[in-house]
């Protein structure tokens, strides 16, 4: 959300080249940028909120079908991905710390590791999607769901239309999340390149902080998606 416009304007005493014309000092600029970022995160929460609302309603209405669908997801791939994302959030925090300390190479290193972890997540997600295609669990004309809900050994048959709804939500929600992951990877690649060029200093690293906020939000959304989609009925 930052705005590094060319500073061709006003007779600013040319202190920080990153200070843009509409702000009177760096503190104001930094505060504005981070408030803007937090507001953007609010819009993201509302965006995903619509889907979580739909999920909640159908999970309450069609619990058995949702539990049966959930049992068909690959819990190990899902758990691995959760771990990957949590580690990536740690590297983001370390990147911000490195930026604060003005350690350029360390900053670039952590940003690159973050991107790699993000890509790992996407690759694993890709394998999961492939498995769904093979099992005909992708909504549409080829959808075929014959599995039952295994409620502690009791086999309960479920309506395949209702299970299809579960997979519809699964694909829309994880798909939207994956799009955000892709945007995050592109964003962090850009930040890494700019960091390599020495764009950020210990006194100016707002984009790293704001990029980090975005990454954490996308991470948190997954932290909610994982139990809601994979762990509906895994207690035993």
């Amino acid at each position: 959300m930052h705005d590094s416009q060319a500073v061709t304007v006003m007779e600013h005493e040319a202190h920080n080249p990153a200070l843009v014309h509409q702000f009177s000092d760096e503190k104001q600029q930094k505060n504005a940028a981070s408030l803007g970022m937090w507001l953007f995160l609010v819009t993201e929460i509302m965006f995903f909120g619509g889907m979580f609302c739909a999920y909640l309603i159908y999970r309450l209405t069609y619990f058995n079908a949702f539990a049966a669908g959930s049992q068909q997801l690959n819990i190990w791939l899902g758990a691995t991905n959760t771990a990957v994302l949590i580690v990536s959030s740690v590297t983001v925090v370390l990147a911000v710390k490195a930026a604060e300390a003005g350690k350029r190479k360390l900053l670039v290193g952590y940003l690159v590791v973050t991107v790699l972890l993000g890509m790992t997540f996407l690759v694993i997600k890709g394998f999961e999607y492939k498995e769904k295609f093979e099992k005909h669990h992708v909504p549409g004309s080829t959808f075929n769901f014959t599995e039952k809900f295994d409620d502690n050994g009791k086999q309960i048959p479920v309506n395949s239309k209702e299970a299809e709804l579960f997979f519809s939500l699964y694909f829309v929600m994880t798909g939207m999340h994956a799009i955000h992951m892709i945007i995050g990877c592109v964003l962090f690649t850009g930040l890494a390149i700019l960091a390599w060029k020495g764009h950020y200093t210990s006194s100016y690293f707002t984009p790293i902080e704001n990029g980090g906020l975005y990454w954490h939000l996308v991470d948190i959304i997954w932290i909610y998606l994982f139990p809601l989609l994979y762990l509906i009925s895994r207690h035993s």
Binding site: M1, D3, Q5, V9, M10, H21, Q22, F23, S24, Q28, N31, A32, L35, G36, L39, F40, V42, T43, E44, M46, F47, F48, G49, G50, M51, C53, A54, I57, Y58, T61, Y62, P139, G140, S141, N159, K161, E162, E164, L165, S168, L169, F171, V172, M176
Partner: protein
């Protein structure tokens, strides 16, 4: 940084560099980050969509001139009212006041050089244009016929028109309004001039702030709703499709969760305009300033809690309906606070009747009718009787046209000297305000009666006994059209032939009047320091004759 207050009524220096003559190339406009130039870009594009939407409105009214479906085929009529609604709601009413007047005025009013994120501001205009072009493309390829509400399952499985493209256009245009709102909130929080505390902010800023909150909380929900509709059409998901276990009422909940608060996105900025106008042309501080300011915030909050009153006949539980009915009455309270306080501001003020004030009077009267009929509709029993009739159509046109558009036109005339550096011709402006007021009432008042006696909306034929009222309505629409075309002509005329405007032709309070007309690119030569309350009209000399600097 040395900062001094700039004296009011500073005479404009003729060859001074201002935002309009600072660069004349197309590039200097299309790549500008100046909030004032972006406001002009919005002014041009939003006006174009207004006349497009107006064209569809005229087609509707011409078709309804006679009881038979003779001008348009039934399917065409469906498309015409759908596209009238989509263009007017998403491409006109939502951006009109915030993106044009708000963009231009908010940095000026808070004494800043620009909005907090000028490039995001430009991006938001481009998103608006891309969304608009996509919708135009959709129109040229046969349009869309679902009604602007896109109700499922009609929009997902029955309609064979370009629903996907229309949905995508709305999705993209939605991000334009999210970015505008985000920019306003950050600007108001972080960029106010020294001394400009929250309780010294102009009420226009307050109302746009409240609007922005609704924009950033509501718009993402319509975005995801459109994504789900598109996904349902293209990928055959069943989230809203009853045949696949989905629930069409869920769509209505999600849709109205945005689209009811969107009504406040439209009306709140216009209410802010009216506060400015009433104070200036009564030469008085707005009565109960804090209540008017906080009523905007209250409307923004309560506006999110009333959406299900659109669903009284959709099969929601009676208890839910009662709660939403009650909350809909509650939202009438802050709206009434505004109307009462404007009226109280007029009391013992030295009221003058310049064109902006005529529009303000129009707003107060018409919004009151629109608001009160809203309470009638919030009553469950009556709502069941008049749901989907012309009573509803008349109600929301009183709020949207009688309210939003009146406020916008009043504001546009009021700030025209600041925007263009020229005065508009007062005589023509008064005439067109009269046309708008008479034409509006003639168009929409008969529709209250039509609806109450049972004429349903969205039909292209009707029983012959409804014809008299429909003819009146169509006649009114023609008068209204003249009222809208006139300002376009004389405002363009004034750009060249209007008398040069002073910095503060109305003797108005507010920082925007303390800089030159038109303002320089960075708004103020020196950052202003505010040491006075808002609307300190007792300290500002009134212009000798408010109508004096005006062309006849």
């Amino acid at each position: 940084m040395a900062s001094t207050a700039i004296p009011a009524n500073q005479a404009p220096v003729a060859p001074k560099l201002n935002y309009l003559n600072n660069g004349h190339t197309l590039k200097s406009w299309l790549l500008t980050t100046d909030h004032k130039r972006i406001a002009i870009l919005y002014l041009i594009s939003v006006s174009a969509f207004f006349f497009l939407g107006g064209f569809f409105a005229m087609l509707i009214r011409l078709e309804l001139l006679t009881p038979e479906g003779d001008l348009l085929a039934a399917d065409t009529y469906n498309k015409v009212f759908t596209m009238h609604g989509i263009v007017m709601v998403f491409f006109f009413l939502v951006p009109v006041v915030p993106a044009i007047l708000g963009n231009f005025l908010i940095p000026l009013m808070v004494g800043a050089k620009d909005l907090a994120f000028p490039r995001i501001n430009l991006l938001s205009w481009y998103l608006y244009v891309i969304g608009g072009i996509l919708f135009l493309h959709c129109m040229l390829n046969g349009g869309v016929d679902t009604g602007w509400t896109f109700y499922t399952p009609y929009s997902t499985s029955a309609s064979n028109t370009n629903v996907v493209e229309a949905g995508l256009a709305i999705f993209i245009a939605g991000f334009s309004s999210i970015f505008t709102g985000l920019n306003f909130i950050v600007t108001v929080h972080r960029m106010r001039a020294p001394g400009l505390t929250w309780d010294r902010l102009p009420l226009f800023v307050w109302s746009n702030y409240a609007t922005s909150v609704v924009m950033i909380l509501g718009t993402p929900v319509i975005a995801i709703t459109m994504v789900l509709v598109i996904a349902e059409r293209t990928l055959h998901l069943g989230i809203f499709d009853p045949r696949l276990g989905g629930d069409p009422v869920l769509f209505q909940h999600l849709f109205w969760f945005y689209s009811h608060p969107a009504v406040y996105i439209m009306i709140l900025p216009s209410m802010g305009v009216i506060s400015e106008l009433v104070a200036c042309f009564s030469r008085k501080r707005v009565f109960g300033y804090k209540f008017v300011a906080l009523s905007s915030v209250a409307i923004a909050i309560f506006g999110f809690l009333v959406w299900a009153h659109h669903l009284f006949v959709a099969g929601i539980s009676l208890y839910a309906a009662m709660v939403f009915s009650f909350l809909s009455f509650i939202v009438g309270v802050p709206s009434a606070v505004k109307v009462f306080n404007w009226t109280a501001t007029l009391y013992k003020g030295s009221v003058s009747f310049a064109t902006p004030m005529l529009y303000a009077f129009g707003f107060i009267g018409l919004f009151t009718i629109g608001g009160l009929t809203g309470l009638i509709l919030a009553t469950i029993g009556i709502d069941v009787h008049v749901t989907d009739t012309y009573f509803v159509v008349a109600h929301f046109h009183y709020v949207m046209v009688g309210g939003v558009l009146m406020g916008y036109l009043g504001g546009l005339h009021f700030w025209w000297p600041k925007i263009s550096g020229r005065m508009y011709p007062e005589g023509w402006a008064k005439l067109s305000a009269l046309f708008v007021f008479v034409g509006f009432n003639l168009t929409f008042f008969p529709q209250f009666i039509l609806g109450y006696v049972g004429m349903p909306r969205r039909y292209w034929q009707y029983p012959p006994e409804f014809q008299v009222l429909n003819v009146l309505s169509t006649a009114g629409a023609s008068v209204l059209a003249v009222g809208y075309l006139l300002p376009m002509i004389y405002l363009l005329w004034s750009l060249r032939y209007g008398p040069i405007a002073e910095a503060n032709p109305w003797g108005a309070a507010g920082l925007e009047w303390q800089t030159t007309s038109p303002p320089p690119t960075f708004n103020f030569d020196e950052t202003p320091v505010v040491t006075w309350e808002a609307y300190n009209y007792d300290e500002i000399p009134a212009p000798k004759e408010l109508e004096a600097p005006v062309a006849r």
